[in-house]
């Protein structure tokens, strides 16, 4: 027997990879090395890949997560223009690595066997690590990259060990065959448990779940803002998608092994993330910790993947989460570029004196908090709690509820800071260069999307699986 190539998945990924190469080439041969030069092919590739994805016959969870990955990548690419003429960032390599990682993300979601999954995971990881360390001459960046790298490879090793055991137990690494093989009562339970848990570790690591979250604040803090946005949105979405597919297709028979683990990890993750975020004084740090917390919410439906609500809920939640997070990170990237600081004290009153950036940031924070008027955030909170309840994990649902509250505590702090009467000298927004306007436009488009979705959540909820 042979394993055919699934082009519904490989197609967009290939396009993205080609885009990555073209970007690298353009950069290499285009003398001025501007951000737009290599960004354009990347953007085109992103658009074409999205079109290909929509045109193709991918459905369900892979489609939803691929869409989130592609749209998120496009968002990052366009918003990254904010870094134009930042000497530390080589645009060609940046776009190449970014698009490679995006291709990895796509392949991860589309993987139908563990081999592909592992390789795709690396295709996502290694460029991401490079991206984190890309700010040349920046000690924080390279330290962050080192941290990220080492923890990443260790978790990869653990995952591979799990995979090898899984293979040893079943003799196959194809999802469908695995699913069937594990039903066999003859498979040794203990080994399966160890194998499954170790396999899942790699994906939980990419998601930044506790106790594999320690790299997250460091990496987000050291990386340039849009890379952090990429990690928090695209990379997470892909990992979650892969995790869901793996759990629901390959490992349902081992449900008893991973279900309590994933549930407890979800609960711990959201709690630790929220508590950690409470004391942050920098908006980036706050978002970093908050994305740890959000990872907990993302993982929660994975614990109850047997519920019919789980897969759509995860997709819908991750879509809204990614959008809001990207809006927030992009806005902060612009702010960092124009003001040189993202400390909360320096953001005071931004919604008043710089409404075009402040208000989207408010909207994004409210969405992440799940608080009206960002109805879509609230609705997706509802959506994500529903499968948990449906899967008889009411205790987890209650912890989620408590964490919604904990999250509100700091998101609203951000909101309130932004809406505060500004102190000191009135801030005069400098007339930004065109590249910054690109980034701003992404922020506004993203915020507008959030507003539209808030007004009519059905747009998202009915059309994503």
């Amino acid at each position: 027997m042979t394993i055919p190539i699934d082009w519904t998945v490989a197609g967009p990924a290939t396009i993205v990879l080609v885009g990555a190469l073209v970007a690298l080439m353009v950069d290499a041969f285009y003398p001025r090395r501007t951000w737009l030069g290599s960004g354009l092919p990347a953007t085109v590739a992103g658009v074409v890949a999205t079109a290909e994805l929509v045109r193709g016959d991918a459905t369900g969870t892979p489609f939803a997560f691929s869409l989130v990955v592609l749209v998120g990548t496009l968002f990052v690419v366009v918003a990254s223009n904010v870094m134009n003429f930042e000497n530390a960032m080589p645009p060609g390599e940046y776009h190449f690595l970014l698009m490679s990682a995006a291709a990895g993300a796509l392949l991860m979601v589309g993987a139908r066997d563990v081999v592909t999954l592992v390789v795709a995971l690396e295709l996502l990881s290694l460029p991401s690590i490079a991206l984190v360390g890309l700010r040349q001459g920046d000690r924080d960046a390279i330290r962050a990259a080192w941290t990220f790298f080492l923890v990443s490879v260790v978790s990869t090793a653990v995952t591979l060990m799990g995979v090898s055991l899984l293979y040893g137990v079943t003799g196959t690494l194809d999802y469908a065959l695995l699913g069937r093989a594990l039903v066999d009562p003859a498979v040794p339970d203990g080994v399966v448990s160890v194998a499954v848990v170790m396999t899942v570790v790699g994906l939980l690591f990419k998601l930044g779940a506790v106790p594999f979250h320690l790299w997250v604040p460091d990496a987000y803090g050291g990386a340039s803002v849009m890379v952090a946005g990429f990690l928090s949105a695209v990379s997470k979405a892909a990992s979650l998608g892969a995790l869901l597919v793996l759990l629901s297709v390959a490992l349902p028979a081992a449900q008893d092994d991973w279900q309590p683990v994933v549930a407890v990890v979800a609960a711990l993750t959201m709690t630790v993330g929220n508590v950690g975020a409470l004391r942050q004084d920098d908006a980036i740090g706050l978002l970093a910790w908050s994305s740890v917390a959000q990872a907990g919410f993302l993982v929660a439906p994975a614990a109850v993947v047997s519920s019919s609500y789980a897969l759509p809920a995860a997709a819908q939640y991750v879509a809204v989460y990614a959008l809001a997070n990207l809006v927030a990170f992009a806005a902060l990237a612009v702010v960092l570029r124009l003001r040189g600081s993202t400390r909360l004290d320096d953001l005071r009153g931004m919604a008043r004196n710089d409404p075009w950036m402040g208000v989207p940031l408010v909207m994004a924070a409210l969405t992440l908090a799940g608080f009206p008027p960002a109805v879509i955030g609230l609705v997706t909170k509802f959506v994500v709690i529903r499968p948990v309840v449906d899967g008889d994990h009411v205790w987890l649902a209650i912890i989620m509820g408590v964490n919604v509250m904990l999250g509100l505590a700091y998101y609203l702090r951000l909101v309130v800071t932004l809406c505060e009467r500004p102190v000191g000298e009135p801030y005069v927004s400098p007339s930004p260069p065109i590249s910054v306007r690109f980034a701003k436009s992404t922020v506004l488009i993203g915020a507008a999307a959030l507003v539209v979705l808030s007004a009519w959540p059905d747009l998202l909820l009915s059309h994503l699986p």
Binding site: F371, G401, L408
Partner: protein, 475 residues
Amino acid sequence: MIVAALAVPFVVGLLLVLGRRFVSGRAAAWIGVAATTVSLVLVAAVWEGREGVSGEVDVAWIEPVGARLHLGLTAVSWPFALMTAFIAVLCCLWLVADDTSPALVGLVLVIGASALGVFGSLDALLLFVFFELALVPMWFVIAWWSDADRDVAHRAATRFLLFTVTGSALLLVGIVVAAVEGGSLELTALRPTAVAIVLITLGFAVKTPVVPLHTWLPDAHSSAPTVGSVLLASVFLKLGTYGLIVFVLPSDHLGVVAPYLAVAGSVGIVWSALACYAQDDLKRLIAYSSIGHMGFVVLAISTRSEAGLAAAVFGSVAHGVITGLLFFAAGSMKDRYGTTSMAGIGRGLYGRAPWLAATFVLAAVASLGLPGLAGFWGEVLSLRAAYDVGSVLTRPVAWTALGLALVGIALTTAYVVRAVRLLAQGEPSALEADRDLGRREVVVMGALVAVVVVLGLVPQLLLDLYGPVYVGVAR
């Protein structure tokens, strides 16, 4: 019509917030009065009778989760909605002054509209959205327009917000559980399990507030500006009691929480009365008294009986108008003397500002539940419901609660008499700021006094909604 009743104040409020630089405060307040009056008229006009749903609007909203834009007023929600719209009108009227900030008027409108939305929602998710929608505006109202020190106001506002969102987060989980169990988000279709009932009860109990979840209330009330206090007391606390009535009272699992509710409610009556007795700050006193009144409502709800339902609704509405009146009176004093400390205001208000004093005393005695004024009927029906035990409590629990409630009523009289004695009576200590009610104050307070008296003398206006032929209106 009901959509317009929500949308008009909401949109006008948003426009006022956004366009705050383009209108004067006085004009904004008049605009607000107009918008809320429209809303009030619409809410009143939409009524079609106690059987069924008035002004029903049912549009698809979020198909995948089964949420619908389902609005309509029932025999339970209509009084709440009417009271809210009425209070909103008065709040806007109160703001008709030169030093008003247009944004404050806008926020008041938004808050009022959101509360109306809660009462008008027949879909749990929609209700929850409205429930949360008002919180952030309320934070700003408390934190920014407070007369208190900035840090104090911030802390009070944040406490208020965090308490409430803690409750509402649990509430959300409870709603999800109920919705999964019932297969729909329609209020009538929810099937809360025991766990869900506990969660939902906790959520609304924070808002109501039920002792010992009440500690946010005094701070918030005493820090808020006058309209903020009025909205908090008259409208926000009602969100809690309304939620309890709608979600918890009809549930089969009420018995799980009922004993705790009954005891907590009645302990709250005594506790708050004692706390009131030691207050010097008038607004704190009124805040604590609210806890006691809500205790009666909670006690009534815990019994689940016809009388209990009537008591809960009547008690809530009556508390809304009476406490609104009290806060307006306290606000008048604050406007004059810059403080709500009874020591600071001084004694002998009867002589210094007779009408203000008379209004305050009337509100105070209404608050202590004098028969013939609005506050009485809710209390007496609660007592009756507790005496009757109802369908879920046991007699020892119900009668213990009854006994505590009686003690609380006596203590209530004590602190009201003390307040009147300290404030209205005594050798007048004339201050320069002494001045009797102005026209604006007369209008606002007069309207409330009229409602208090009318509801007191003709309780049938409300109680007829819950007469014997009509059981189960909470559904």
